[in-house]
Symmetry: C2
Subunit: 479 residues, 2 copies
C-alpha cells in the first residue's frame, strides 16, 4: 500500500515507529466505515509523536490518531480522500504517576480506560468514567471524544475529569500542561478545546486525571415506573433525598427487555414485564446504610405514585446482576440489528414529550420497533430504531435516512442535541453543518485554520474540509 510519497515520509519518521498494516486499523465497531492508510505509525514517546506530526506537516499528509478504535461515529476511520497516516497510541501506555493523597493520576493516551480504573483502584481510589467499551477504549480517545457513560450524572463527562493535558499540536510543537491543580486561571482553556475536538486540532499524548475516594456505602436498585415522566419526577426526588449522591440513573425501555429475552435469555431480568424501568445507583457517606436510604426514598416515591414496583439489591452480586442487564442492552441491540441509532440529548423537561411524539411519528411513518434507553439523569437517550418482528433491516435501507432525519428534527426542535456523547466524527458532519449555530461553526473553522493551517489533523472529521486545503490534496504553498 506504500506509494512513493509514503516512502519519502517513512524515511523521515523516527526509526522503529512504523507498524505493519493490519485490517484492525481500518475498521470501526459498527462496520459502517472501512478506512485506508498510507502508513501506520506507533510512536513510543511524545517526542516521537511530535516527530511524526512534523514529518506529516512537512509532507502535507493527513494524520488520523487512533486509540482503542471504539468510537461510534467514524472519527478513527478515513475512507475518502488521500490515504492518511494512522498514528496509533498503542505503545504509549505508561502510568506516569499516581498521587492518591491528591486524587490525581497521570496516564499516557494509549492506556485503556480499564487500566486507568485499575491503577486508581490499586491505590484505593476511583476513576469514575465508566463505559461499556472500557476494556479497549484508550483514555486519549475518551478525552478526544469527551466520552460520557453511566456515571456522568454525578462525576461529569471525560472533560470534567481532566486536570491537564500534554498534546502535540499540528505544527509538531508540544503543549506541556500536565498540572495536578484543581484551579488554574492562567489563560485560554486549551485543554477543553482539545478535549472533544476528536483529533482535529492536535493529539493528546497524556493527561492528568481527577480521582475520587470511593463512596463508603453504595446501593443499587431496579425500579419499575409507570412512564418516562414518572421516571423524571423520580430522578428529581432522588436528588432531593441523596444530596448529590445519585451516581447513575439509567432508563430501560420495555423493548430493551424484550430484545434481551429474545437474544440473551440467560441474562436475568428482575422486572421482566416493565414497560419502563430505572436502574439507580447511589453512593453515600459513612453512617448511612444504602438500604435505609433507598427504602426511605422508595417509600416517598410510592406515596407520590411514581413507582409501581422495585427491588433493592441485597448483595454486591445482585447489584452486579442489575448492571449486567443494563450493560447488555447494546449487545442485544446488535443481535437484533438496528435500522438507525441515535445518541441524543434533550432538556429534561422535554424528554417525556419527545418519547411520546417521536414514537407516534415513527409509527405513522413506518413499521418499526423503538428501543429507547440510556442516561436519563443527563437527558441522554439512545433512541434506536429496529425492524418490525420478522422483517430484516435491509428492507428498511431506503427509509433509513428519512427516519433519522425525523428523529433529529424532533430533537433539535425541542432544544436537544443530535450527538450527546459520541461526537461528530465523520458520521454527523452534515448534521453539524445543518443544525449548528452559524457563528459557532465559523469560529470553529477559524480556530481550525489557525492551529492546523494545512488541515492535516483528522481531515474531514467534525468539519467538512475547505476546498483546496485538503491534506495531501495540494493546498496552498508553504508559508
Amino acid at each position: 500500500m506504500l506509494n512513493p510519497a509514503d516512502d519519502k515520509l517513512a524515511a523521515a519518521l523516527p526509526k522503529g515507529v512504523l507498524r505493519p498494516m493490519a485490517p484492525a486499523y481500518l475498521e470501526e465497531p459498527r462496520g459502517r466505515y472501512f478506512g485506508k492508510a498510507g502508513l501506520i505509525a506507533a510512536p513510543r514517546t511524545t517526542d516521537e509523536v511530535a516527530a511524526v506530526v512534523k514529518a506529516c506537516a512537512e509532507a502535507r499528509v493527513g494524520i488520523v490518531a487512533r486509540g482503542g478504535g471504539t468510537g461510534l461515529v467514524g472519527g478513527q476511520i478515513m475512507a475518502k480522500g488521500p490515504a492518511p497516516l494512522i498514528l496509533s497510541l498503542e505503545r504509549m501506555t505508561a502510568l506516569r504517576g499516581i498521587w492518591p493523597e491528591e486524587n490525581v493520576l497521570i496516564a499516557e493516551a494509549g492506556m485503556t480506560l480499564q487500566a486507568v480504573r485499575d491503577a486508581a483502584e490499586a491505590q484505593g481510589r476511583l476513576f469514575p468514567l465508566s463505559l461499556a467499551s472500557q476494556g479497549s477504549a484508550a483514555i486519549g480517545g475518551c478525552l478526544a471524544t469527551n466520552a460520557g457513560g453511566v456515571t456522568a450524572l454525578r462525576y461529569g463527562t471525560a472533560r470534567a475529569l481532566c486536570l491537564g493535558i500534554e498534546a502535540v499540536l499540528p505544527d509538531g510543537s508540544v503543549v506541556h500542561d500536565l498540572k495536578r491543580l484543581r484551579k488554574d486561571n492562567t489563560g485560554y482553556d486549551l485543554r477543553d478545546l482539545l478535549i472533544g475536538a476528536e483529533g482535529t486540532l492536535g493529539i493528546i499524548t497524556a493527561a492528568s486525571l481527577k480521582l475520587v475516594v470511593p463512596p463508603p456505602n453504595v446501593g443499587v436498585a431496579m425500579l419499575e415506573v409507570p412512564d418516562p415522566s414518572a421516571a423524571l419526577s423520580l430522578l428529581a426526588l432522588a436528588e432531593a433525598h441523596m444530596a448529590g449522591g445519585v451516581t447513575a440513573f439509567e432508563l430501560i425501555g420495555g423493548q430493551g427487555l424484550a430484545f434481551l429475552a429474545e437474544t440473551l435469555p440467560e441474562i436475568r431480568r428482575p422486572l421482566p414485564d416493565a414497560a419502563w424501568s430505572v436502574l439507580i445507583e447511589v453512593g453515600l457517606p459513612a453512617g448511612l446504610s444504602p438500604d435505609e436510604a433507598l427504602e426511605r426514598f422508595l417509600t416517598d416515591a410510592m406515596e407520590r405514585g411514581l413507582l409501581s414496583d422495585g427491588m433493592i439489591a441485597q448483595s454486591g452480586q445482585q447489584a452486579d446482576g442489575f448492571w449486567h442487564l443494563r450493560e447488555h442492552i447494546p449487545e442485544a441491540n446488535r443481535r437484533i440489528g438496528a435500522v438507525a441509532s441515535h445518541d441524543i440529548s434533550l432538556p429534561l423537561s422535554e424528554i417525556a414529550g419527545f418519547i411520546n411524539d417521536a414514537g407516534k411519528a415513527l409509527a405513522a411513518r413506518s413499521d418499526v420497533r423503538v428501543n429507547c434507553f440510556g442516561h436519563l439523569g443527563d437527558g441522554n437517550l439512545h433512541y434506536n430504531i429496529f425492524p418490525a418482528k420478522g422483517r430484516s433491516r435491509t428492507e428498511y435501507d431506503s427509509q433509513r435516512t428519512a427516519l433519522s432525519e425525523l428523529v433529529h428534527e424532533m430533537v433539535v426542535a425541542r432544544g436537544g442535541s443530535f450527538s450527546a456523547e459520541h461526537g461528530v466524527g465523520r458520521l454527523k458532519v452534515g448534521e453539524l453543518e445543518r443544525w449548528g449555530d452559524p457563528a459557532r461553526i465559523s469560529a470553529m473553522r477559524a480556530i481550525k485554520s489557525a492551529l492546523d493551517p494545512w488541515g492535516i489533523m483528522n481531515p474531514g472529521a467534525v468539519l467538512s474540509q475547505a476546498r483546496g486545503r485538503d491534506a495531501g490534496a495540494g493546498g496552498p504553498d508553504k508559508p
Copy 2:
C-alpha cells in the same frame, strides 16, 4: 473626554446605549489601576452589544467589557494605549428563564451573582457559586474570569456550572448556544474557550447555568489542626467519610485571626489562638444528621492525631458566625494593608512543604508577616505578605517585586500556578509570559489572532499586544 474619532464612533452606535462618563467605570477594587475610556456604552440587548462591537471593529477601537468591576487583576481597566470603549453589561440583567425541574437557569450577563443565587433559591434550588463579592460581581464577569470561591471543592469553578453561552464575537457575530443540556458533543468547546478568556475573545451576553437541589442536611464545624499537613490529612479523611459531601474546606492561618482581632474585634473567633484552623461545611443526604456525621468524623480524626480542638455549629446562626469570620479575613487584610498578595494553587501534596519553605525564605529576606488562608480543598491559597507590626507598607515598596517573585518562583517550582482563581488580567501578563508553556502561549496567540484579528477585545489583557496590531493604534489595513 470625547475626541473626534469617538464622535464618529458614537454616531455609529445604537441610540440610547451611551452612558455619561463616571469615575466608577475607571476604577478597580484594590486601587491599583485607574483606567481611561473614550466612551461608555451600556447596551440593553444582545443585538445592541453586537452593534457596538461591529462599530468598534470598523473603527478599530478597543472594547473593555465590564460586569460588576470586582476583578482583582486589572482585567476590567485599561490604563495604557488608546482609550477604549467601555462596554458595561449593567442594563442586561434579565432572568431569561428558570426550569427548576431541569436544574437550569438562563441569566443575562449583567445579573449579579447574588441575583442569580436568589432566583434559584426562590424556586427551591441552589446556584452554588459563592464569592465574597457576589453582591456586585456580575455573572458574565464570573464566567469571563472562571471565578472560583468557597464551594469549588464540591461544585467546581464557574466553568463547571455553565451549560451554554450566548456571546458576541469580535466581528459582531452572535453565538447562540444557550442549551439546557448536560451532554452535547457537537464540535469544539467554544463555551470553555470564552470562559476564562477575560473578554479577550468575545463578550458573553447570557449563560445557561446549572442549579442543584440543596442538600437536605448541612453541617458546619470549625476545627483546630496542628499544622497544614494535618489539615490535608483531615481533608482526605473527610472525603473518605462524606462521599463527595464536603462542600467547603477552608484553611485559616493564625495570622488571619490576629488581624481580625486587631482590626475587626467585634467578630467572634471561636478558636482564638489556633495557629491553624479549618472551616468545614458538609451537605448530606436525608436520613443522616450532620451532627452525627461530623461527630463520627471528628472522633476518627482525633484518634489519628489530626485535630487538637473543634466545634460543631449547633445552630444556623452559629454556622453563619463561623462563615462570617472566614469571609472577613480579606477585609481585615485590607485594613492592615498588604505589601503583596498572591492567589496561588499547588498540588495538594506540595502545600505543607511550600508553606514551610516560603515562610522561611521570606523571613530570611525581609521583616514581614504572612497571612496564608484559602480554599485548601482546591489547593488554592491566598498567600499575602504584610508589613511587620508598627511598619508601613510603603516602607516595602522597593522589595515588593522581589518578594512576589520569590513566592511565585517557589510555587512554579512545585508545579503550582501563579493565578489560581483571579485570572491574568493586566496584572499577571508578565508572569504568564515568563512561566507559561511556550507552545500553549503560541496556540493562545494563534486563537486570539484568528478570532480577533484587529485586537479590539480587551487589548493588553491576558496576552501582551503584538506590535502594530494594537486596537486604535494603526494596525494592518482592513481585509
